[in-house]
Symmetry: C2
Subunit: 360 residues, 2 copies
């Protein structure tokens, strides 16, 4: 072999060795896809994944690219868990309670009627064992689940007539899905589900007498305040946490630094959504009241709330009797809420109570 050839070989070997070194391996670009239950413009629900994609790209210097698909793209808003499980998407963004028909243990990670507030629930997730229970519940679906953004207290809904007693609920036609719908059904409400796009007309024409949606920030776009004067305060979703899903196999293929970037970005964007929604609701509520000064904020009378709570407790007791992980999650939430609420009462609650008294 001539020296010239030898030089070339040495050069080639050196370059190949550098290219395969850690420094270059880390330059590999991972292209992921994330499927959301919502269309892209449905902020703030649809905000966390879109912010996540942006900051993950920046933090990874373009090494992890996450393409976000809204429901108009994948056409399967309630198929997110399956698509992530099967690896069609590496990630998803949805609500855990949508999977309760498939697996009852997923019910508890969004929000429970008469349950924890945002501060209480997030503290339970990260400091009270909630995350561990959530991973336990999702392990068999081959995905990791992370908090994905919280709406805070959702309003009890828009009603055309005032609810003065439990009797006023009997025969009332209301759109209220999920576990809260089961409670209302026990109280004699005729519970229906109607697609979002048809809700306004249904309420206007009397096909339904009442409905619940989210809160002022999202309700204002739907226009319900124009046709139903009574806006009831919340009881059924005090702190609805959205959900990130990550395919475990895909996650494990990421280098450690990209894993850390992804996890931090999920946690941060989840926290941030609560404030985005809070701000949107504060602004929308001012606007609604100004344009429709006749909106009446109402609390359900205590006897009505007591009946709802009784129905809730019966349904929970039935679930708890299944034992296993279901019982473990219910007990964990109950115990955490008990001690957390004692602190909430003497801090946030009494502070607000006194500040409101001072306004008068």
């Amino acid at each position: 072999m001539k020296m010239k050839t030898l030089g070339k070989v040495a050069l080639a070997v050196a370059v190949a060795s550098l290219l395969s070194s850690n420094a270059f391996a880390k330059e590999k670009v991972y292209k992921w896809k994330l499927a959301m239950t919502w269309p892209k413009q449905l902020t703030p629900l649809a905000s966390p994944p879109q912010k996540l994609a942006k900051i993950v790209k920046e933090m990874s210097n373009g090494r992890l690219i996450i393409q976000v698909h809204g429901k108009n793209k994948h056409k399967a808003p309630l198929g997110i868990l399956d698509m992530v499980k099967l690896g069609q998407y590496q990630m998803g963004h949805s609500g855990s309670y949508y999977w309760k028909g498939k697996d009852i243990n997923t019910l508890f990670f969004t929000s429970m009627p008469f349950g924890m507030t945002k501060a209480e629930q997030t503290s339970w997730f990260y400091y009270g064992g909630g995350m561990e229970l959530m991973q336990k519940a999702y392990k068999k679906h081959k995905v990791y689940s992370y908090p994905g953004g919280n709406t805070g207290v959702q309003m009890g809904g828009w009603f055309k007539k005032e609810i003065k007693s439990v009797d006023d609920l009997k025969g009332l036609k209301m759109r209220i899905p999920g576990f809260a719908g089961e409670i209302m059904a026990k109280l004699g409400v005729s519970v229906t589900n109607i697609p979002a796009g048809e809700l306004y007309t249904a309420l206007e024409r009397g096909t339904i007498d009442a409905l619940e949606w989210v809160g002022p920030g999202m309700d204002i776009k739907m226009g319900f305040h124009k046709i139903a004067p009574y806006y009831y305060t919340g009881w059924h979703e005090p702190a609805s946490e959205m959900q990130y899903l990550v395919n475990i196999k895909a996650f494990k293929k990421l280098p450690k630094d990209l894993q850390a970037i992804l996890v931090t970005a999920m946690k941060y964007t989840a926290y941030d959504m609560y404030n985005e929604n809070f701000d949107a609701s504060a602004n929308a509520w001012v606007k609604m009241k100004k344009e429709y000064p006749n909106i009446k904020v109402k609390e359900f009378p205590l006897p009505v709330l007591k009946e709802m709570k009784k129905a809730n407790d019966e349904l929970i007791a039935k679930l708890e009797s299944k034992g296993g992980l279901t019982k473990e999650i219910i007990e964990s939430q109950r115990n955490y809420m008990k001690k957390a609420r004692e602190w909430t009462k003497i801090s946030e609650y009494l502070y607000l109570k006194n500040m409101i008294a001072l306004e008068k």
Copy 2:
């Protein structure tokens, strides 16, 4: 030149070119130092920077290393702003209101008496113009300021005697620093400051009659509940936000990806501290009540709160009359709180009110 030499030169050139390429430049390790006002073990106040250092190292794959110094190391707990400004430390972690003597505009970014709750204030920071005003205030100090973790509602303090009227405050010896101390002084309280290590003895021996600290999570370590039976609810620090400081010059020298990693890590660890403290307070409060069942939670009577509020409003009016940025910040906070509180009232507040009514 012989071919052998030429080969070696080519190899050297290729290697040098690779080493100076973007891929390798990004491998440069940045070693930073962060000074905290607190000792390292004073969690949860001291938690955010220590978590930040850990996740920044993971996310940057070791390219940004932040060494965290507690107050026992740098011996200047109230000199953090100066040290970061001068570049002795690239970062700091403290409380913005500590610099009010130096620059009154820094007062408003921790928490204000009768002010916003955690949800309201964080929404103001990120969605209501608060961040922009904070950067404006800190620009002349050549640092960026970011939220650094929130305690939520701080308790009104431990009192040896019950406060039944404004008269009971006259001549009362109390440790309560800062702006709240000025309010108490206006009501006739003899306000003193005493180092943390001497507080227990001062309260026990009657050198002081009352003191405020933080909340159950941090108070329990101090032992005040053993010697003062009345625990008053909060009014003066409804949502104390700690503060990250970053030297602007140092920040600008970081590559864009490390800047993004640092900013996300600051925001995430700040959010997280609130829940760490919430959980610590919930647990400590259970423990305190169990061990000392005679602790009495008290609210200041409304006439007392009214006098405090009056004194507060007079002090704020005096600050506002300075005009400029001071007036701009006060107006921004007042306007945001006004609309935010309307939403808080019909969501979080009425939810809690009804849940508490159901307990009875």
